[in-house]
Every structure is written in C-alpha cells, then in structure tokens.
C-alpha cells in the first residue's frame, strides 16, 4: 500500500511541476528549491534540478486527506448493506415483469458455458432443484432418502418465503390466513412463526437421522457376529483385517490403475525413405563440415561450442557412410522395431517414476545398436533390448522376425548356429573388475560368441541401470584394448576376433569418449616411453609390435585423424613418426611392420592431405632396400636406413626369375609377427608383394601431395631412385605398370610458383580513444564478480531503498494522523470552551437580571 502511495504521490508531484496550471508557483522564488549538483556532467539532462517542496507537500497532505483520513474516519464503523437484486427498487416494473426478468437472468447464468455443446439434452432436468441425473447416481447411501425428501419439502417452503419476493409471500400467506383465521397478521409475526416452524422441523429431522444411524450400526454389528459363525476356517485376526474393507481395496486399486493407465502415446510420424535419406544426408553434411572446420584448426578456439554435435545422443543416432538405399531400407525397418520397444520401455519407466534424461540416451543407444545389428548380420547379432534387464528369449525371437529381407541360406544357417551358441551362453555376466576377469570371460569362446558375451555384459551394466555401471564400463574399455593387444601379440595373432570386437569397442567409445581417449593415450604414451628408453639405452629400438599397430588402427577408427589437433591422434602421429625414424629395420618382419605403419600414416593424412615427411623418407628407404647397386645414388636415405651395410639388401630379389610366378594378393597382417614363407621362392614372392605395396603407397602419395608447392622437390629422391636404380626389369608386369605410373605422376621439372608475399592485411585503423565504459548499476560501482553476486547486490540495494522509503512514508502518515487528531482535540476543546463561555454568559445575564429584579424590588 505504501509503495503504491509513494509512486502515486511522486506522479502527482511531477504532474504539479509540469502542469501549466501553476506557472506562477513555479516562478515564485519562495516556492522553488534548487538542488545543487556536485558535478556538472555535459549532456546529461537532470530531472530533479528544481524542486517545489511547498507544492509537493501540500499535494501529499491533500492526498492523505483523501485516502488516509477517510480511512481513519471510517475506522471501527460498520459496512452498509447494498441490495443488488434486479429491479428491487425500480418502481416502474410490475412484479410479474420483475419475476420474469429475474428468471431469464437466472437461466442465462446457468446456461452459459456448461451445456454449450450438449445437443440432445437442452437442459438438466431437476426435481426440487436437484439434478435428476445426480439423484439417480445415489451417491450417499445412508442419507439419500430422508434428505432428498426433506430437502425438497423445506426448499419448497423456504424458497417460497425467502426468494418469492416479499410481496408474493405476503400475498400468498395473507390469502391462506384469510381462509383459516380471518385475522390479518403482521409481517413480523408471520416471519417469526415461520422461523419457529423450520427450527422445529430441523430438530426432528436430526433426531430421526441419528436414530436411523444407530439402527444401521446395530444391524451391522449383528450381522458381523452372524458372519463370524458363518465363516469357517480363517483365523479371527486376519478375518477382521480383511473384513474391514475387503472389496473397496480391490476396487480402489482398479480405479487407480485405470486412472494411471497410459493413454496411447502420440508417436512420431513415420518417415518415408526419402525423408530419412534426406535427413541422413543433411546430418552427414553438417558433420563433415564440422570435421573440415576442425581440420583447418579453426575449431580449436571455439571448442566449447562444438560439443553439441559430439554429445553421445547425437552421435548415437548411428549411420553408415555407404548406407545407401538398401541399408536405408533396413534402417527404416529397424525404426519400426525400435518404436515398439520405446513404448514398452516408456511404460516401464513411467511406473518406476520416470527418469527422463536417461531415457533419451537409451533410445539413442537402442537405435545405434539396432543399426549395427542390421549391418553386422554376418558375424554378430546385437540386441537392443535396453530397458529390460532380464533379457528373455522371446524378445530375441521378435527381433529375428523383424529382421527384414530374408537373408541368404548361409546366413540363416549361421544365424541358427548363433542361436545355438546364444542359447548356451548365460544371459547376464558380471562386469569384469580386472583384465584377467575379462580374459577369463572371453578366452574360450568363438569370436562371435565373444561379441555376444560383450554385448550382454554391456547391456547388463548399462549406465542407466545402476549408479556404478558407468565406471565399470569405462574400465571395461581399457581392458578390451588390452585384450585386443593380447590377441594381436599371441602366436598366431587372432586378428579375426579383434575385427569382430570392433563394433563393441566403437560403441563403448561413443558412450565414454573421455575414458576411451584416456585409455588410448595411456597405451600410446607407455609404448612411446618404452621406445624412447630403449633408444637411449641401446641406441636403437625394435619396430613396434602388432598390438601397437592394431591399436593405432583402432584409434583411427574411433577418432578423426583429420583434426588439426586431437588429443589422441596427434600423439598417434608422433608415435608413428618416432617409429618410422628411430626403429631399426633388420628383417623382413620389420619391413612389413614399417609398411603397415606407412599405410596407417597415409590413412591418417588421406583426408586432410597433410604432409608427412617421415612417411616419404621411409618409403624411399624401403625402396632403397630393393636396390642392389648402392653406389653413386642420386638421393640420400636417412635414419633408420643407411646407404650401405648390413640389412641393406633385404628386398633385393635372390632370383629375379620368380617374378613370373608372382601374383598380386594382399599380405597377411600376421607376417608382421613372423614371416611364414620359408623357401627362397616364397620369400622372393613376399619381397615382391612388399615392393608392390610400397610402390602403390608411393603412388597414393603422389596423388595426395600433387598440389603442394614443393611437390617435385619432395618426390625428387624417389624419382631418382625409381628412374635409375630400381631393378624394375626383373619385376612382374603389374609392378612395372605401377612404376611407370609413378614416374608419369612426378614431373621432371619442378612446377612454377608465384613468389611468396605476405598476406594482404586490412589497414590498421588509427588508434582512437575509446571511452572506458563502466557499467553503472543500481547500486553504483561494480561490486561482485559473478552474475549471481551482482544480482544479489542489486536486490539488497533495492530492498534497502524500498525499506527506507516505506519507513519515511509511514512516519509521514503517523505525523499526519497525529496532526489530525490534535486538530480534532483542539476543535473539541474550543467548542467546549465556547459552550462553557456561553453558559457562563447566560448565567451572568441571568444573575444580572435576577439582581436587577431584586434591586427593582427593593426600590
């Protein structure tokens, strides 16, 4: 109230000041008060430089007189009664008209919204003002009969008396009375009689009701005793409990259940294949654009923003790059399937109380895995029954049915085998706590079964199911990598299983990018460190083993290698660089490992087209190994290769004639572990394969780097080697073709380039004195740093000001009231004085008169 007053008064005083009505006041020097300013700020318009205290005070007093004083005067006074009945005081209306009008108004009020669309029933049928429909429900069992009757009775009379209008009642009653007693009674008497009567009736009704209740209770008790006799075996205590409210419970339950029953959820509109494809393409484009941005290194600064698309939800939508029509179709069907699941799941979740956030994650996960499922029909069957903790065979079957496009017969057989295997496996697995646990879990199974085991483990310990699961799965990723490393190092390496485990590893990585990053980083760092140590101690280190090569490959599958800077891939690059420059090549296995590293390096840079000098050096060195005459070379080989010496003829063919029997086929990765070829011919074939790969890599490099300004200089040594030294005549035709293609790709003369100039820069604008901007807040200078602190300060300040203002207003009010009270007292005193004086005067005149009379008498 005070606040309102204040603003109001301020508005008033402003109005006074601005109003043209009182110019003479504004000019009057006795009225005007000038507010002195501390600083004269240029260009600031001050509102309050001149004040009119007299005017504003008078206004305030005026306002108080209008509001506060009135209230004060009306204090402790009763309210007035206002009769708002229609036409009550309108003498022009006849009573009939009045009643009619009132009736229509009543109807209008009740008719307004409730039955607007009620077509068949125009109005609610009533009996004694009670809805017939409601009466039929018979909600109140005990009181229904008597009450409705009595109510009807009473209401008929009472409504007549109370609402029929005074005149009507009078007339009616007087008519009735006329018949009975012929004696007119006053209205007062009539009403009193009526009241007595109604009170009596009420009392009667109450006693009746009580009696009825007592009776029913007695009946109930009687029946209960009889029922005890009727009941046969159940013990008394239990029975009592049950009988308390036996049917109601069940019924309640039913009702509640019905109430909570899910209504059909509006599902998303099914998308057509086209729409899906378009969406997919769009998503792909945005992701690709983002990747390019990161490749350029722009994204480094704005890393904070990029995480939107990387969030697990987003990524887990899942898609295939080469997933065109067929796969898209499959995807669509997958979608069908998922939606059914989603519904089920949501029901469950709702019952539990609903964990909305995780639900989303689940869905996405489900979709993801579902899709993988479609892709990997061949070797492993992923299940995506996320919500259900206990996976049962039924759902499996459902899924299999859902798999569209009848697969080939072999596939079916495979599936049958899988089914059998799956049946043997348990459905839940404990999360491995250590690496040995995991190893034990997986060791004795086929690779496909291992996948299934892993899948089930993942599902049993999905993060949404329990609190500790996240940590468990994060650890599991590390163990899996270790396991993969073990598989790759065992003899012979089990790379098939490694390959089969890739989807699981990918899935885990998508779930926990940080943990995955940490795990890969640790492995890289450890291996790099040990390599560095051996280098320091021995001067040279062996080539990294197959497990590291596989890890690098997996890292490339999990993380984008094209980023300008990436926490995993940049170290991986450096690791390869270290291996390619420092590790000695002393055997065919080393050559093979080096070649694998080269392949990986090329893969890493193939999108970003970054230059990798060590890669080219190494390829040159490898080709150098195949040159038999190592004198007068027109190129220089660098570490780890030497111009000549031991192990410099690793790739020189012992017998050039074997090249006729050579045919191109991929080299097995296992040879990096141990070259199986024993006979000289086989070894020569192996050498040819290596040279073939090497040449092909060189060819890929030439096409990759052909836009670089120093393209010719980079490839000059390789060109010199290929042109003059490589014994290409002894090689099979495909190699000769490759050789020719490479030579064609490398120009003899370096291409021409424009001389370098600095980037054109925008002219730097002149230095200007930009004003220092200080934000002036409600409470003056900056105080508090964070947003919350500032807000808190602001509120504190505001509260203080308001408090002071309110206090001031209250003081003014009390002062005003006290003044008024004093005025009252004074005026009352004055009145009294005046009256006393009058009395004294009259007494004096009386006395005077009396004395005059006396004197006269004396005379």
């Amino acid at each position: 109230m005070m606040r309102k007053q204040q603003t109001f008064s301020r508005g008033l005083s402003d109005k006074v000041r601005k109003s043209k009505a009182a110019p003479e006041i504004q000019k009057n020097p006795f009225e005007v008060k000038i507010n002195r300013k501390k600083f004269d700020v240029l260009g600031r318009k001050s509102k309050h430089d001149v004040g009119l205290p007299g005017v504003s005070r008078s206004r305030a007093i005026q306002k108080r007189k209008e509001t506060l004083l009135k209230e004060f005067r009306l204090k402790d006074k009763n309210n007035k009664f206002i009769d708002r009945r229609f036409g009550e005081y309108d003498s022009k209306l006849t009573p009939e008209e009045k009643i009619l009008q009132r009736f229509t108004l009543e109807r209008q009020r009740t008719q307004d919204r409730k039955d607007l669309y009620n077509l068949n029933e125009e109005e609610e049928l009533t009996h004694y003002g009670q809805s017939l429909a409601e009466m039929e429900k018979m909600t109140d069992v005990i009181d229904s009969d008597s009450d409705s009757e009595e109510k009807g009775l009473l209401s008929a009379e009472l409504t007549a008396t109370h609402f029929g209008g005074g005149g009507g009642l009078l007339r009616k009653k007087s008519a009735g009375d006329d018949e009975e007693e012929h004696k007119p009674r006053s209205r007062q008497e009539l009403i009193e009689e009526l009241i007595i009567k109604s009170k009596q009736e009420k009392r009667e009704r109450q006693t009746q009701k009580e009696e009825a209740q007592e009776l029913t209770e007695k009946l109930d008790q009687d029946w209960r005793s009889i029922q005890n006799l009727l009941a046969h075996k159940t013990p008394k205590a239990e029975r009592k409990d049950e009988t308390d409210k036996p049917k109601l419970d069940q019924y309640d339950m039913m009702v509640r259940e019905l109430g909570f029953e899910m209504k059909a959820q509006p599902s998303e509109k099914l998308k057509s294949a086209e729409e899906l494809a378009r969406e997919e393409r769009h998503r792909l484009q945005t992701l690709e654009a983002d990747r390019l941005k990161r490749m350029m290194g722009d994204a480094e600064e704005e890393a904070g923003q990029t995480n939107t698309h990387i969030s697990a939800d987003d990524m887990n939508d899942g898609f295939m790059l080469d997933g065109d029509d067929r796969k898209t179709l499959a995807y669509k069907d997958g979608k069908w399937n998922i939606e059914g699941e989603e519904e089920e799941k949501e029901e469950e979740e709702d019952e539990e109380g609903g964990e909305e956030e995780e639900d989303d994650g689940d869905d996405a996960e489900g979709q993801d895995e579902e899709e993988e499922d479609e892709d990997d029909e061949g070797h492993c069957d992923l299940q995506s029954d996320e919500g259900s903790e206990d996976e049962d065979g039924q759902s499996t079957e459902e899924e299999q049915e859902c798999a569209e496009e009848p697969p080939a017969v072999i596939e079916e057989q495979k599936k049958a085998v899988q089914e059998a295997a799956r049946a043997e496996l348990p459905y839940t697995f404990p999360a491995p706590e250590s690496y040995s646990d995991l190893k034990q879990l997986l060791q004795d199974h086929e690779s496909e079964q291992q996948c299934v085991i892993l899948d089930r483990t993942l599902k049993c310990h999905h993060p949404s199911l329990a609190a500790g699961n996240k940590a468990k799965l994060q650890k599991l990723f590390g163990f899996l990598l270790e396991y993969v490393g073990d598989l790759a190092t065992q003899n012979p390496p089990d790379l098939k299983t490694v390959s089969a485990l890739i989807p699981q590893i990918c899935g885990l990585c998508q779930m926990f990018p940080e943990a995955a990053c940490k795990a890969v980083q640790t492995l890289l760092s450890d291996s790099g460190h040990s390599m560095e140590e051996t280098l320091e101690v021995k001067g040279r280190a062996p080539m990294p083993d197959l497990d590291m090569l596989v890890l690098l490959k997996i890292a490339a599958l999990l993380f984008p290698s094209s980023d300008f800077r990436h926490p995993v891939m940049t170290p991986a690059f450096l690791y390869i660089s270290q291996a390619l420059t420092r590790c000695a090549v002393v055997s065919l296995e080393d050559v093979c490992k080096g070649l694998i590293l080269c392949c990986l390096a090329l893969e890493f840079v193939s999108l970003s087209q970054r230059i990798f000098p060590e890669l080219l050096n190494f390829l040159l060195g490898l080709l150098h190994l195949s040159v038999s005459d190592k004198h007068n070379t027109g190129y220089t080989v660098v570490s780890p290769f030497r111009r000549q010496g031991k192990n410099c003829d690793l790739l020189v063919l012992k017998d050039p004639s074997v090249s006729h029997s050579w045919n191109r086929k991929p080299i097995s990765l296992q040879t990096a572990h141990r070259v199986t070829a024993q006979s000289p011919v086989e070894r020569d074939h192996f050498r040819l394969s290596l040279i073939d790969s090497c040449l092909d890599l060189v060819k890929r490099c030439t096409s990759l780097y052909k836009d670089l300004p120093s393209y010719a200089h980079i490839f000059q040594p390789i060109r010199a080697l290929l042109l003059k030294h490589l014994p290409v005549e002894g090689y099979p035709a495909p190699l000769q073709d490759l050789h020719r293609e490479i030579l064609d790709a490398i120009p003899e003369k370096p291409s021409q380039h424009a001389p370098l100039v600095f980037k054109k820069k925008k002219p730097i604008p002149l230095k200007l004195f930009t004003p220092k901007i200080v934000q002036i807040l409600d409470y003056g200078k900056k105080r508090g740093n964070t947003k919350e602190e500032k807000e808190h300060e602001r509120l504190k300040h505001k509260y203080k000001r308001e408090f002071k203002g309110a206090l001031r207003e209250i003081r003014k009010d009390t002062r005003f009231l006290a003044h008024e009270k004093l005025n009252d007292v004074m005026s009352r005193d004055a009145e009294r004085k005046r009256k006393v004086k009058e009395l004294y005067g009259s007494l004096a005149t009386q006395e005077g008169e009396w004395k005059a009379l006396k004197r006269k008498n004396r005379k």
């Binding site: 290194g297 390959s499 993380f559 890599l697």
Partner: protein, 525 residues
C-alpha cells in the same frame, strides 16, 4: 650326497690350508732369514689356477716385499746375475738382499702378467699391489740416483704397468676406472702421462699406423680419466714425497703437467682413429681437453682432418673449430662454404642435432654476414626441412625466421612484392656447393609454405608465421634444442581438452573404414 659333502669338506680344507700355508710362510720369511726360501712357494701361488689363491698370494707378496722395502732388505743398485751370486765374494747379508731382489723382480713380473688375467678381482689385486710397490720403490729407490738430475720415482715400473694397462687385446676399461684413483696423485699422473705418450708412439709405430680399435679404446678410456688440475697450488698430493727440493720437481709444476697432457693427446690424435672414436673424442674435446692444454691451437690439424671427414664427425668438429676461431684467433678459410656443404638431410637425424643447431645459431648470429650467404643457408635449410622430423622442424622453423629477422635483406625470401604475380621456376640450385652461386636470394621459401600443411599442429603453426610480417622479437630456440619426439608427445598428452571429437562413421570391422589403405594391402588372415 656323501661325495659332495666330502669334496666340500676337502675344498674347505684346501681353502683353509692354502691360507694357513701362505700366512705361516710369510710370517716365517719376515721373522727369520733362514726361511727365505719359502718365498718361492708364495710366489708360486701367484700362478695358481684358483683366483682366490692368487688374490691371497698377491696380498701376501705385497705385505712381504713392502716390509722388506722398509727394512732395506732389497739390494740397491745394478743387480748382478743370479748365477753370479755364488761366485762373487759377497757377504751373506748382501747375498740375501740380492736373492730377495730377484724374487721381487719375479714377483713383479708375475703380477704384471696377472694384470691380463681374465678375472677382474685378480687384475685389481695385482694392480693395487703393483701400485704399492711403486710407492715403496719411490720411498726406497732401488737405483743409486743422481739426486740432482733425477727425482726418485720408479718410472720403469710405472711404464711397464701402463703398458699392460693399455692392452691391445682386451678392453681394460674397468681396470682403468679402478686405476683412476691413483691418478688423483699428481706425480703418478705426471709419469703416467709421459709413459702413455711413449707407449702410444711405440705401439702405433709397431702397427704401422693402422687402426687398433681395442688399444685405442683403452687409451681413450685412460686419457679421458686424466684431469689436470686447474691451479698449480693444488699440486701437493704426491704418492712419493721428495725429500730434496720438491718445488723443482717436474711433477710438481702445473706447466709441465699441461705440457705432458698436451703431448699425450697430440700423440694419440696424430694417428688414424676409428670413426666412433672420433665422435667420442670430439664430444668431450671442447669441454675436457682443450681447456687443459697449454696451446689448444695445436689441435687444428686434428680438427680440420675431422671436419673434412664429413657427416656427424664434421658436425662435432665444428665445436672445437669454433673455440679455436673464437678464442684463439684461428683463421679458417672458406669456413662458411664448408659449413654450407655440411648441410644434408642427415643433419636432422643425427644424435648431435641440438649441438649442431646451437653452433649454427652462433655462427649465423652475426649481423655482418652477407645477405647472399644467409639467404643460401636459409634456403638450404628450407629445402632440407622437407625431410625433417617434427622435432627438428620445431627448431628449424623458428631458426629460419630468426635468420630472416636478423637480416632484413633476406626478407625477400618470404615477401617479394615487386615481382609480378606470374609463377616462375625456383632459381635456387641445390647442387651448387658455393653459397655465392646458388641464387638463393632470388628464390622464395615455397618449402615452408608446403610445411604449412604439416601433420603436426605446432609445426604447421610455426610455418604459418611466414604468411605475415615477422614479429619484432626473435624466438629463443635454446629451450627446444633438446626436444625429443616423446617429449613432444607427452606435451600433447598432458594438454587439457574440453571435448574429444569422435569419428562419426561408426566402424564395424578392423580393416573397413571410409579411407582404407591398410586393408588394400593387408588382410586379416
């Protein structure tokens, strides 16, 4: 079980017995001259099969002969033949002394032989015993010396000892490191230095100046342990105290020490060395050899020879040459030309890269160098950078930028605004040996431009710097000189990242990715 315990017992018995035997015999020899023939038995133990016996016997011999030295029971002067011992008319006392002196000589011979024994303990014991003898002989010289000419020091014994120490057949580095403690003594060091010099002269002369890696390695090990003290006042730590006029003794003069040190090294470096030896020497040359020589400029022959060898050795020789040029006013013609020709792709891969760049930085730090020369270096570095690993590039790129910054006339290499935009050939001639003829100043650093696409983000960023006018300040490259690949990797691993971008193409198989190269060439089985 039984036989083995028997043998054990026997072993123990024999052990006890030989100790007892030697102990009683030495005791008797020292007590009574009658039992002096027992010395034969003790000496015989020196040739025993068992290491323990030899060691014990060596110890016993040491005790016996040291005692005899102190008693003066060894014959002094020219030793008559043992056969003549009976014939000449000598007193019994004298005979005894001659006899003992012969035994002493026998003993020393055997000890020297034992220095080539395969067991290190035996070698060590022999060495220590011999050094004791050296000390004893010094105190009680066995020759009648002209005191004014010669100070008493058993040079002959030390010479033979050094000869055995510098074996041509086996690596004696362990024993030499044991010997190091005796080299603390100034007189021993002085005489060792002179005997080493003689030894090298003799051995290398005998081998017709061919390379003998083992011998030279031994010599190097010995030489590198010798340190001449920096101040003459410290030369007070002697094995043999000279009674007469110790100040005049050569071994007490720092100048003589330095000269001996210098002559020894020069003698060693005069002959052809294996290339690994060159590296070893050159690594320590500027720190531990040159400051101790009286005239380091004498090393110029060695250094220029090493500089001409090429490769890593040349790089290492640079350091010594630099000191000579810088401190000793050496004039080296065509120094920069040679330096220029040193630059080839291998400089980025050698172990001594940091040292090389440090020196390179110093050599090219002068702002008075001609622009063509600096430009030639810059361009050559740029060309070589196309084959360099990232650690080298991280040194090289700031280095090149610093050079251009130091020599503003070389700025045309990265900024040639006057030229028309038309493309042109690179006028630089890589094969040209002479920096003046290679047309580097007319070229541009397209190589650095290429490196802007390098895979390592820091390298790419460093290369980006040539896109814009260089900053005011030079970058300090001394901190990154020793950077290794692993350190670079660790730096990357430790960096805090907010987000970890993931590959959005979900992989399904190991050898199946959008840009598969590995799968093309390799298969899983």
């Amino acid at each position: 079980m039984a036989p083995s315990t028997d043998s054990n017992v026997k072993d123990k018995n024999s052990q006890v017995s030989y100790k007892k035997d030697i102990n009683t015999k030495t005791g008797r020899i020292l007590q009574n001259k009658k039992h002096s023939n027992d010395i034969f038995d003790v000496i015989e133990y020196l040739q025993s099969e068992k290491d323990k016996e030899i060691i014990f016997a060596t110890d016993a011999c040491r005790r016996v002969f040291c005692q005899l030295f102190d008693r003066g029971d060894l014959y002094v002067g020219d030793l008559p033949q043992e056969e003549d011992l009976m014939s000449g008319d000598r007193g019994a006392e004298e005979k005894y002394r001659i006899f003992m002196r012969h035994r002493y000589n026998n003993c020393v011979e055997l000890l020297l032989e034992n220095m080539d024994h395969e067991a290190f303990q035996v070698k060590e014991a022999s060495l220590c015993a011999l050094m004791k003898f050296v000390a004893a002989e010094g105190r009680h010289p066995l020759q009648n010396l002209d005191l004014i000419e010669h100070y008493s020091f058993p040079r002959e014994l030390l010479r033979t000892l050094v000869e055995h120490l510098l074996s041509t057949k086996e690596d004696m580095s362990l024993l030499i490191s044991r010997f190091q403690e005796f080299l603390e003594m100034d007189d021993v060091r002085y005489y060792v230095m002179s005997s080493v010099r003689d030894n090298i002269y003799r051995v290398m002369g005998r081998n017709k100046k061919a390379v003998i890696p083992i011998y030279q390695n031994n010599v190097y090990t010995l030489l590198s342990t010798i340190n001449v003290p920096s101040q003459g006042s410290k030369l007070k730590h002697f094995l043999v105290k000279q009674a007469y006029n110790p100040e005049e003794w050569k071994a007490a003069k720092l100048k003589e020490h330095k000269r001996a040190f210098e002559q020894m090294w020069l003698q060693f470096l005069k002959f052809k060395l294996p290339s690994s030896m060159y590296k070893k020497i050159l690594v320590i040359l500027h720190e531990s050899i040159m400051p101790q020589m009286s005239d380091p400029s004498l090393l110029i022959d060695f250094l220029s020879a090493a500089y001409d060898i090429g490769g890593a050795i040349s790089l290492l020789a640079l350091n010594g040459l630099f000191i000579l040029i810088h401190k000793h006013n050496l004039d080296y013609p065509d120094f920069y030309k040679k330096l220029y020709s040193l630059l080839d792709p291998s400089i980025f891969h050698v172990k001594y890269r940091a040292r090389f760049f440090h020196l390179m930085n110093i050599f090219l730090s002068s702002t008075h160098l001609p622009a063509y020369l600096v430009a030639a270096f810059v361009k050559r570095f740029a060309r070589l950078s196309l084959t360099a690993p990232p650690t080298a590039l991280l040194i090289l790129l700031p280095f090149v930028c610093n050079l251009i910054h130091r020599h503003p006339s070389c700025r045309v290499l990265i900024h040639r605004p006057s030229a028309t935009e038309e493309p042109c050939d690179d006028p630089y001639v890589m094969e040209e040996e002479d920096p003046a003829q290679c047309h580097a100043l007319e070229s541009s650093l397209w190589e650095i431009k290429t490196l802007q696409k390098h895979y390592h983000p820091d390298v790419a960023k460093a290369a980006m710097k040539i896109n814009e006018p260089l900053t005011e300040q030079e970058e300090d490259i001394s901190e990154i000189l020793e950077l290794s690949t692993f350190e670079l990797m660790e730096r990357e691993l430790k960096a805090e990242r907010k987000t970890i971008p993931l590959e959005f193409d979900t992989a399904t198989e190991l050898l199946k990715s959008p840009r598969e190269v590995l799968g093309v060439h390799f298969s899983l089985d």
